[in-house]
Symmetry: C2
Subunit: 152 residues, 2 copies
């Protein structure tokens, strides 16, 4: 299982999300939310915080589970937690080329590493707009099916 966080920075009414540009394959050079495989004897929440520290050097306060995404054709389940970024002392870890905050408009949608990450970002900004209008965050469960290729 892959577990990660959505580190949110709110300042002057502007919402930004912390993304990492991958320094490793697969998808070297593409942007992702901090996430990785669970290790022994940790909970899913602990794994999300550990990966956020390792890949983005980021201090977060972790909130509720936000998304569970099944990717059955690669035998994976990805979980993402909402999180508050506590300060701006983040720094790229060894698996990241750079780490940077993005508004919704600035997100490099064409250069996101994995479909689970773009889906989670889309769901997050949609919920965030509803929360601003008085709603609340949901837990989202979606299946990511194999993209159709013209050659298939």
């Amino acid at each position: 299982m892959v577990v990660g966080s959505i580190p949110v920075w709110e300042s002057d009414g502007i919402t930004k999300i912390l993304l990492c540009r991958r320094a490793i394959e697969p998808r070297y050079g593409y942007w992702t939310l901090p996430a990785g495989f669970m290790e022994n004897k940790e909970t899913t929440g602990e794994a999300a915080s550990r990966e956020t520290d390792e890949e983005a050097g980021a201090d977060i306060q972790r909130h509720a589970l936000f998304a569970i995404l099944n990717v059955p054709h690669v035998h994976q389940v990805h979980l993402f937690y909402r999180a508050t970024l506590l300060n701006l002392n983040y720094a790229a870890g060894t698996e990241s080329l750079e780490v940077k905050l993005f508004t919704e408009q600035e997100i490099p949608w064409e250069d996101i590493a994995f479909p689970t990450v773009s889906e989670t970002l889309r769901l997050f900004f949609a919920d965030h707009a509803r929360v601003k209008a008085g709603g609340s965050y949901q837990v989202h469960e979606h299946d990511i099916t194999r993209p159709m290729r013209s050659s298939e």
Copy 2:
């Protein structure tokens, strides 16, 4: 990851849950919700339905994810989905000695196979009471830590 369902049967205002008595170790003879390990190329939801069919021969309509329970000292994560039992044609599969419906009062709390199952049942009946009072089901995330033994 272990995935299962909470098969709910509602009739005449009485709510019952379908449990299976285990025909396999560990915890032979103890009661559990239908659940098991994910297999290749299925989603968490598909795994929950498959295990419910295999262990309880039960036809369900699967609803939202209800509980995610971390059991870090055995490196496990358990997910349970709420489900509606569609008919009474259930029957013990090869891994079950018997399959039976229980009201909250009838649940054999002392003979439940795993702490994740008793926790899920407790959370379900608590939410169910809130739903009857106009509330809604939540998604619950809890960590099950190693029980303290007097010998430890």
